[in-house]
Amino acid sequence: MRTRHPHRAPPDVRFSEPGSPLLAVENLEVRYGGIRALKGISLHVCRGEVVALIGSNGAGKTTTLRTLVRLVQPAAGTLRYAGEELTTIGTEQVIERGVSLVPEGRAIFPNLTVRENLELGAFLHRDKTTIAESLHDVEQLFPRLGERMAQEGGTLSGGEQQMLAIGRAMMGRPSLLLLDEPSLGIAPKLARQIFEAIRAIAAAGVTVLVVEQNTRLALEVASRGYVLRTGEIAREGSSKELLADPMVREAYLGA
C-alpha cells in the first residue's frame, strides 16, 4: 500500500517488527443468554501472518470475529490489539485503529452502487487523496469491481459481491483484516480466486485472520490455524500439522 491512514497513530514500536503478536486474545468468553458461545478461547495473530480459524457451524467462529470488532460483548477475557486493550473501546474506535471486518454472507449494501459501497468502506477516513488511492488499489486488486462501479451492488454475482465486501474492508486501509467465511456459497473456482486475493492482500503486509468452513482452502493460504469446536480451541498448529492431524482430517477434510 502506498499511503497510510492519515489519522492512525504509528504502531507501537514494541509490536512493529514482523512476527510479534498484533492481536492477542486471552480466555475470551461470550454468552448469549444462558448459552456459552465461547468458553474461554485464547489465540494470537502475529504481524504479517495469515491465520485460519476453522470449525463447523455453531462452533463460535463468527462470534469470535464479531467480538473482536466489538459488535458482541465479551463476558470475560482480554483482547489486545497492537498492545491496546479493545474491550474498553467501541466498534468505531476499533475500526479507526485499523481492524476491518468482512462480515459473513457477503453483507454488502445491495441498493447502493459499487462505488458507494466502496466509499462507505472509507467512512472513517476524511482525506480525499487517501480515499482515491485506496479506491485505485481496490480496483487493481479486483479489476471486475472497477468495471462495475456504477452498478448496484445487488446486481453483482455472488463472487463479485464477496470481492466487493473485501474491497470495501480494504478501503479502510486495515492493518488487520478479519474475514468471515469468504467462500460461503461461492462457486469453487471463484472461491479460489478470492483466496488468491487474500494471499495478495497478505503479501502487501496486511495481517489476516480468516474464518472458514472450507478447511483445505483456508489452510492452503494460512500459515497457522486454530480449530474451534463448540466454543473451545480443539487444536492449534501450523497449517501443515493441521492438515496432517487425524482428527482434523476426519472431521473437516472428509479424508
Binding site: 449494501f109 447502493l112 472513517l124 468495471e147 456504477a150 502487501a204
Partner: protein, 393 residues
C-alpha cells in the same frame, strides 16, 4: 453547468416567497374565491414538509415510523399556544388577531414559535427514539404508533373538571375534544391566529427539500442508507447504526413538529387545533405520500405530498359538484371515498411499481447502471491477476 452559489439560491428563494405572500393577499382581496386554491397551495407546502421529514427516517434510514402524526400534533398544539400567547404578550390588538396577520407581524411571532417547536419535538423524538431504535426490527413501528395514540388520548382524556395539578391543568387548557382555540380573552376564546402564509409554508418546505437533498448526498445520508441496507455491514465500516437511526428520527420529529405548527397557524386557517391531527389516518396519509413518491427519494416524497394533497381536494371538489348535479351523491362520505382511493392507489403501486414513482432516485437524476447488457470483460477470468503487482508497488 456551473453551480449556482447557495447564497444566491437562498436570496432568490426568499424573494420568491415574499412575492408569493404578497400575491396571496392581493389575489384574495381581488377575488375571495381564489382563497380555496391558495389554501391548497399552503397545505401542499405543509404536507411537503411532513413527507420530506418522514422520508428521512422511513426512506433514507429504512426505519418504519407510523406515528408521524403524533409529532405533527404536538407541533400544532405547541405552535398554536406559543403564537397566540406571544401575540397577546406583544399586545397585538385582539381584533387584528381575528384576521390574517401581515407578513411583518408574522416575523414577530413565527421564528420563536418554530424554533421552540422544532427543539421540543426533537427532544421528544430523542426520548421516544433512543430506546426503540437501539433494538432491531419493527419495534419503532409499534412504539411510534403507541406514542401518537398516547399523546392524542392524553389531550382528549383530560378535561378542565378532572384537572387537579398544574400539569393536568395545562393539558386541559388544550381544550380536549373541542380542540385548542387559543387563550381566553374576556368571555370568548381568542382563536389560533392566522399567521403563516406562503412565505413561511412554501419557504420552509423548499428549505426542507433543499436540506434533505444535501443530507442525502452527504456522508450522513450515505451512512443512513448503509444502515437501511445492512446494519452489521454498516457497523463493520464504522457507522454506528443506533446513532444514525436516532439522529434521523430526531430530525424527522423536528420537521413534523414544524409542519404541525404551520398547520395550526396557517393563513385563513381554522383557528382551532383539534386532536384529530394526531389520529392514525394522518400518519397513514404521510406514509402514503412517501411510498407513492418513492421511499428514499426527496423529490419523490415532495411530489407524492403534492399529488396527494391535490387529489385530496380535487376528489372533494368533484364529489361536491357531483352531489349538486345528482342529489344521491350527497350522502357519499368523502373521507371514506378518499381512503378507498388511496388504498387502491397504494395496492396498484405495490403491484406495478413497488419502489414508488421515483424509487430512491431524484428528479433529473440518472438511473444507476443495472449491469445486464455488458460486453465480456477481458479480465473477467483473471480477476486477481494484477493484484500482486498492484499491491507490491
Amino acid at each position: 453547468m456551473r453551480r449556482v452559489p447557495a447564497v444566491v439560491l437562498f436570496a432568490i428563494g426568499a424573494l420568491t416567497c415574499v412575492g408569493l405572500d404578497l400575491a396571496y393577499d392581493g389575489l384574495v382581496s381581488w377575488d375571495r374565491g381564489s382563497k380555496f386554491w391558495l389554501h391548497i397551495l399552503v397545505v401542499c407546502a405543509i404536507n411537503v414538509l411532513g413527507a420530506t421529514s418522514l422520508n428521512v427516517v422511513n426512506g433514507m434510514a429504512g426505519q418504519f415510523s407510523i406515528g408521524h402524526a403524533g409529532f405533527v400534533g404536538i407541533g400544532a398544539y405547541l405552535g398554536g399556544a406559543i403564537v397566540s400567547n406571544l401575540a397577546l404578550a406583544l399586545k397585538i390588538p385582539v381584533a387584528a388577531l381575528k384576521d390574517n396577520l401581515s407578513l411583518g407581524q408574522s416575523f414577530l411571532l413565527l421564528p420563536v414559535a418554530l424554533v421552540v417547536v422544532g427543539l421540543v419535538c426533537a427532544a421528544i423524538g430523542f426520548v421516544v427514539g433512543l430506546p426503540s431504535l437501539r433494538l432491531r426490527g419493527d419495534y419503532l413501528a409499534i412504539v411510534t404508533l403507541g406514542f401518537s395514540e398516547i399523546v392524542r388520548l392524553t389531550v382528549l382524556g383530560i378535561s378542565a373538571d378532572s384537572a387537579t395539578n398544574p400539569l393536568t391543568r395545562a393539558i386541559a387548557s388544550l381544550g380536549g375534544s373541542l380542540g385548542y382555540r387559543g387563550p381566553k380573552v374576556g368571555e370568548d376564546y381568542l382563536g389560533v391566529p392566522s399567521v403563516a402564509g406562503p412565505f413561511w409554508t412554501v419557504g420552509i418546505a423548499a428549505l426542507a427539500v433543499f436540506l434533505a437533498l444535501r443530507l442525502k448526498r452527504s456522508g450522513f445520508g450515505r451512512a443512513l442508507r448503509a444502515v437501511r441496507e445492512d446494519e452489521i455491514a454498516a457497523a463493520a465500516v464504522g457507522v454506528d447504526p443506533a446513532k444514525y437511526k436516532v439522529t434521523a428520527f430526531v430530525l424527522a420529529a423536528a420537521g413534523a413538529g414544524v409542519a404541525g405548527a404551520l398547520l395550526a397557524v396557517q393563513r385563513d386557517g381554522p383557528g382551532i387545533v383539534g386532536p384529530a391531527n394526531m389520529k392514525f389516518d394522518k400518519s397513514f396519509e404521510v406514509i402514503t405520500m412517501v411510498i407513492l413518491g418513492g421511499s428514499g427519494s426527496v423529490s419523490g416524497a415532495a411530489i407524492g405530498a403534492v399529488l396527494y394533497t391535490v387529489i385530496f381536494y380535487a376528489s372533494e371538489e368533484a364529489l361536491h359538484q357531483l352531489a349538486q348535479a345528482v342529489p344521491a351523491f350527497g350522502s357519499v362520505d368523502a373521507a371514506a371515498l378518499r381512503m378507498t382511493l388511496f388504498a387502491t392507489a397504494l395496492i396498484v403501486v405495490m403491484l406495478v411499481r413497488t419502489q414508488g414513482l421515483f424509487g430512491e432516485r431524484e428528479l433529473f437524476e440518472k438511473k444507476a447502471d443495472d449491469g445486464t447488457p455488458k460486453p465480456p470483460s477481458p479480465s473477467s477470468d483473471d480477476a486477481t491477476g494484477t493484484a500482486k503487482e498492484a499491491l507490491a508497488s
